[in-house]
């Protein structure tokens, strides 16, 4: 036990003597949260819409002004279809082209259903879908209001439609930032814990100081925890720091118990740090380690449900996610922060991650060799 404390003290001295460390610990999270939370958003906020108004009527202008009156649309109008519209789509000058056909007004008044064409730049399919949804809703709304005005005197003729009113639970404003922020915290905490501790160990190999350690009677189940605990504490501190920043900047809700969140994170950290240290026992240089990390980080992160829901992934991917510690943490941190889930709700995840931690940690200790 005393040996572990001696190593921990030495590590802390070295960590805080490293000029790069404090910026990494305190500046990086702020920048990551500011940049990533905004950049990783799926909301479509600015739509360049080109309207081809071939009708040039009162109604068509009403529709255009309705669109133009919305903050998210930036509308420009041209009178005839042709090269211009295509060129704008190709040049990324327009996200969508809405064509109002000739005789739009006439058809509407006569009760025929005029057909509007919406051409979308669907390179980013997700964004195109959202623009489509928005625009359709506005056009339909326009039609409904028009019908209501037109038929105001004839209430019997009005068609009552069944409408579904959605209620969004847990994130009622559909605030994407509140969804993304816990995900960013997962990345932050993971990088702090897994990368820093593993790189630290490989660095000792590179510099050669590990040899002086290996020639001492130090035991590996003292050495590995001694390497791990300082970064474990730093990573937990990082979570507290990140949550504070998230609360100050984005008012991210904390609906569940913080104690539960930190409890889960402590165990989670043991599992990823176990992976990191295990890889560090294999790698000979920091470069090798970085490449292994890129592989694991990218795979685990993309599959974890940071951007896309895990439930929509194919069955095999969901199977792979059983061994993806990021996925457990991603799910649990959102459950606790956004939904206020309690210990019983996260018990399955808690059990899995505990088993995971024990296995990875043991593997790291087992794989560490004092003799080559």
């Amino acid at each position: 036990m005393r040996t572990i404390l001696i190593i921990i003290r030495k590590e802390f001295k070295q960590i805080f003597r490293n000029r790069m460390m404090l910026p990494i610990i305190f500046i990086a999270p702020i920048v990551e949260m500011l940049v990533l939370v905004y950049a990783a958003t799926m909301e479509v906020k600015h739509i360049d819409l080109l309207v081809v108004d071939s009708d040039q009527s009162v109604y068509s202008r009403q529709l255009i002004s309705k669109l133009a009156g919305l903050k998210m649309y930036h509308v420009s109008v041209i009178p005839v279809a042709g090269r211009e519209a295509d060129a704008r789509l190709l040049g990324n000058k327009a996200d969508a082209v809405l064509e109002i056909p000739p005789k739009f007004e006439q058809s509407l008044v006569r009760g025929l259903n005029p057909v509007l064409q919406l051409r979308l730049d669907a390179v980013n399919g997700m964004a195109a879908g959202i623009i489509n949804g928005y625009t359709r809703r506005i056009v339909m709304d326009f039609q409904r209001k028009w019908q209501m005005n037109f038929t105001a005197t004839d209430t019997h003729g009005k068609i009552m439609r069944i409408s579904v009113v959605p209620r969004y639970w847990y994130n009622s404003e559909l605030n994407y930032k509140h969804y993304m922020l816990p995900g960013i915290l997962v990345i932050l905490v993971t990088i702090m814990g897994m990368f820093l501790s593993a790189i630290n160990l490989v660095r000792e190999k590179e510099i050669g100081t590990i040899e002086q350690i290996n020639v001492t009677p130090i035991r590996r189940y003292h050495f590995i925890p001694g390497k791990l605990i300082p970064f474990w504490i730093i990573a937990l501190g990082e979570l507290a720091f990140g949550l504070t920043i998230g609360w100050i900047l984005f008012r991210v809700p904390v609906r569940g118990s913080l104690l539960l969140l930190f409890g889960f994170t402590s165990v989670y950290l043991l599992s990823v740090m176990g992976i990191g240290l295990f890889l560090a026992t294999i790698a000979r240089t920091q470069q090798q380690l970085m490449f292994m990390f890129f592989f694991f980080m990218l795979t685990f992160l993309l599959m974890s449900g940071l951007f896309t829901p895990v439930e929509s992934m194919p069955a095999w991917a969901q199977m792979v996610n059983r061994i993806n510690p990021f996925a457990y943490f991603m799910r649990v941190i959102r459950m606790i922060l956004l939904k206020g889930s309690g210990f019983r709700d996260i018990l399955p995840e808690f059990t899995s991650i505990s088993v995971y931690a024990v296995i990875m940690f043991s593997l790291a200790v087992w794989r560490y060799r004092k003799t080559t």
Binding site: Q14, K370, T371
Partner: protein
């Protein structure tokens, strides 16, 4: 040959006993079937070119590298079965400076003292004695990285004997330091040996061999000769160790030894 008789030591129990020790890396044999003994209090020199197998041999004896074949007894313990017991009883100074450059002199002493199980009090006392002996009072709170190499090596040596190991391995301790510091370093070694420590030292400076009680000249993983420097010079009819080394390497290779560093 009379030289072979010198492989075993008469009198007290040997501190190091090596039997048929071999290390192979793939097809390359770094250490080839060596057998020798080292007596308590001896300064035992391992001489040889780069790649002759000196470092590999030392690393095996310290428990840093697992032998491919053979066995050895070091500081009273079996190298194959009890390497961790050996580690309590030996001090080791690597070829490459390997104390923590981002810790101060005193912090390094406390850290390694603590790792070897010295109490805080013992570590502080041992550190103070060492700092006093080296005249480092003014530098004890400086980062080791900021000190000149000569000082670093002296500190590394002192840290290696902090826990009074009795048997010390020094792997090219004087490579890269100036002649004055080299001389001072050897004075430290001789003084330490005078206090009853056994010292195994590798070098490729032939003049340093003169300080050793016995010298093993290594050529391509083999011990080409082993005896006291005087006996060796007399036996091979050479005037100094330099000439002896040339004679032995030529005898075995017909040319200069190849430089292979595993």
């Amino acid at each position: 040959m009379s030289v072979d008789r010198q492989n075993s030591v008469a009198g007290s129990d040997p501190v190091v006993q090596v039997r048929n020790l071999t290390k192979r890396f793939g097809h390359f044999t770094a250490v080839n079937n060596l057998s020798f003994e080292i007596a308590k209090g001896e300064i035992f020199g391992l001489l040889g070119a780069n790649g002759a197998g000196k470092t590999t041999l030392i690393k095996m004896l310290c428990g840093l590298s697992r032998p491919t074949a053979g066995m050895a007894n070091v500081a009273g313990y079996n190298l194959i079965t009890q390497p961790e017991m050996i580690k309590r009883r030996i001090g080791y100074m690597s070829q490459k400076f390997s104390l923590y450059e981002d810790l101060t002199v005193q912090e390094n002493i406390r850290f390694f003292g603590g790792i070897y199980g010295l109490s805080k009090r013992e570590a502080i006392d041992a550190g103070n004695i060492m700092i006093g002996r080296l005249g480092l009072e003014k530098m004890k709170n400086r980062l080791i990285g900021s000190l000149p190499l000569g000082w670093k090596q002296k500190i590394a040596f002192s840290v290696a004997i902090l826990h009074h190991p009795g048997l010390i391995f020094l792997d090219e301790p004087t490579s890269g330091v100036d002649p004055v510091t080299r001389r001072q370093f050897w004075e430290m070694i001789l003084e330490t040996a005078g206090r009853g420590y056994t010292i195994i030292v590798t070098t490729h400076y032939m003049d340093e061999a003169e300080y050793c009680n016995r010298v093993a000249v290594m050529v391509e993983g083999n011990i080409a000769a082993l005896d006291s420097p005087e006996n060796l010079q007399r036996h091979y009819h050479v005037a100094n160790m330099e000439d002896l080394f040339w004679k032995l390497t030529r005898e075995i290779n017909g040319s200069v030894t190849k430089s292979i560093q595993p």
